[in-house]
Amino acid sequence: MTLTKDVLIIGGGISGITVAMELAQLGIHSAIVEKETSLGGLSASFCCKASESCNKCFACVVDKRISELSRYPEISVLTQTEVIGVKGEDGRYSVTLKKRKERFDLRASAIVIATGIDPFNASQKVEYGYGRYKNVITAKELDEMLRFKGLLSRPSDGRPPKTIAFFQCVGSRDESIGNLYCSQVCCAYALRLIKTIRHQYPEVEATFLYMDIQPAGTSFQEFLSSCREDKKIHLIRSLPSKVYHSPLSDKLRVRFIDPEKEEVVEASFDLIVLSVGMVLSKGTQSLTETFGLSLTEDGFIAPPSSHKGLFIAGACSGPKDIDRSILHSKSTAFVVHQFLRGRA
Amino acid sequence: MIKAEQKPMDEILRYLNPYNKILLSGCGACVTVCHAGGEKEVELLASGLRMARQKMGKRIEILEATPARQCEPEFAIELSEMIEKVEAVLSIACGVGVQTLVRHFPKTPIFPGVNTTFLGETLTHGVWEERCQACGNCVLEKTGGICPISRCAKQLLNGPCGGSSKGKCEIKKEADCAWQLIYDRLKSLNQLYKMEEFIPAKRWGVESRDSGLRRMIREDLKI
């Protein structure tokens, strides 16, 4: 069997969804190909990070958009589907797809790649003990815990932690693992997590270990100063060098340079949260080969020349938060639309 | 327009204590505009009163009405059918409205549900300020259009007292000194000379509220 659509969108995350919806509103039919069982991708697992008031994490926007998707008959969604190969070029593409066992072709004039990113695999940073110590988790895992369980607990014993340390730049701005870029979202992301946790669990004490705080959004200044005012949030400019586990107390000891004392200190925490950076998803790497796309020196997809009918949307073109992914996808939709008009 | 604010509910409850069936009447004019006695407030207050009485174990039945303007006799008279059915009336119109009812329904006790506060202007949604005291002979011409009678705590007519400091009034620190406002305005109009003229003692008598009931007769209209 063969489907025909105006546009094929690879990746059903917030970016893919946005592109599809924007095009649908212009009467352009598209198919979203998503390898997972449901849409939403990474951002769909995020929890609301509001404290007394909204902290502009945009997670709610994702949920809204997903629920709105069914509004559009122009959009057909193919979940659990993967791209196997592509034939043709310059606006006449035939893509071979595989849904579970069955293979089929899809014809499209334009292809948008919105496969997003994977969180950096934290176990590569051996010194932080991720994967070895139960209570060292990634920010994503914490996020899902809050969204689905709705409570904060330590993996090891399920008890609520009193002290949490957030490590920034895990897999970002890090020559040792060859990621010479800033993931751009983690600072605000982690600080918002801290804020919402402090709001729901006032007894919890949070320590934020960072290199440089990267701003995000219009009201970041106010947000940051509200974090600074909070006596139970400690912002320390210093990245930890090592994490030890003390089996008796089941606490985690962290070694870092105290910029005040200018000497190596150790502090112990109940829970450690790693703000993992962004890397291009493994799946996408094979895709780029399929479509003959090149990567930037940071390992994200380099924008192809637009006349080909190949387009990139969202974080796979470089780290982006939800907010900017949506904007970027809208702008991509515009280019796609122009491309199709040009051909018609 | 006329501004008013609702009386404390316990005070109202005290008035109504002896009665078990009343009419709650609002007014569609000024008190509606200042969110004190319109259809909505009638509904709210009625509901609140019923609950309060229910809690006291002394249920009360309340009829609700909101004539377009309670201060016009004809509108007031339209209420007569309802008023015949009740023991008392609670009016959340301004003082005028209350008394219009009083004049037309001699046998029914009529109670006020609001305090009529002042003739004022809306500053923003939910903020009102007094502008006129209906003194009966307007001095605005002399004072650059800003009324010292309603806006100066001492109703001075010949400039600010010694308590005017940094544009504020010493009696109400948050309030502007009326005479500072007058000064600034006349200055911007190049009419400061008006503040050098001596304004003689005001005629509080004849036209004003201090002369007992004020009545206006337009011979040309009333024939």
Binding site: - | A153, K154, Q155, L156, L157, N158, G159, P160, C161, G162, G163, S164, S165, K166, G167, K168, E170, I171, C177, Q180, Y183, D184, L192, M195, E196, F198, I199, P200, A201, W204
Partner: protein, 308 residues
Amino acid sequence: MKAGSNLEKILEKGWFAVTGELGPPKGNDVSVVKRKAELLKGYVDAVNVTDNQTAIVRMSSIATSSLLLQMGLEPVMQMTTRDRNRIAIQSDIFGATALGIKNILCLTGDHHTFGNQVDAKNVHDLDSIQLIDCVRTMRDQGTLLGGEEKIEGEIRLFIGAAENPFADPFEYRAVRLGKKVAAGVNFIQTQCIYDMNRFKEWMKMVRDRGLHEKCHILAGVTPLKSGGMARYMAKNVSGIIIPEEIIDRVVKAKKPAEEGIKICVEQIQELREIEGVHGVHIMAIEWEQMTSKITEMAGLLPRPKVDQ
């Protein structure tokens, strides 16, 4: 001669006048008046008798003034428009002059909400300037306010008023004084002065308008008892400005009270030098005993006697 009071004569002779202030008792205890009178006698040319100052109920200023007369002091009867409408005012003036009172100070009065009768209904039928106009009419035309009605007998009063150079709008204060002069004021007592520069600025405006020749200006001074008092007045009493350095002097001083007196004396000497200042009005509030010391240190003693 408007009234032939001692104060008037001294000012007319061009001598530097000194007036004091006396707050009547919060009751009818005459001994209080006596005590305070003794403290002032011989050190001042006339004594202001306040009219329920800061709206605190006290013995009426008319009664107190006539007691002072019996004790051989000359009163300056203060009268506010806060508590009297024009009927009461004019009848009180009849009474006061009948009792031999020769000086009157026309005031609007502190707002009643500052006092101990906050729920009172204030009057403010006239304002201070209209009061001046009213008294002048009674004195010079011999008629009641606004009426042709002749007064039986004659009113002889030396009319004074207060002015506050430290209130706003500053540029208007001299103009307002002008209004008072036009209304017929003879002498002015100012609010107590600490900010000398602003006062001098104001006096300049007064002179530019030639007002210092149309009325006598007595500069008001109040000795600071303590740093606390200084701070409080600077912060809470609107219409009073106390420069930081003065507050500092009192606060830092080992004996604040003495420092306060010292400052006051210096101020008097400085004020004497200002063209158009014809005297000082010493308001030693509830501290009357200091009046003697101040006048003495300021070299204002002995007070001249004007022949009858």
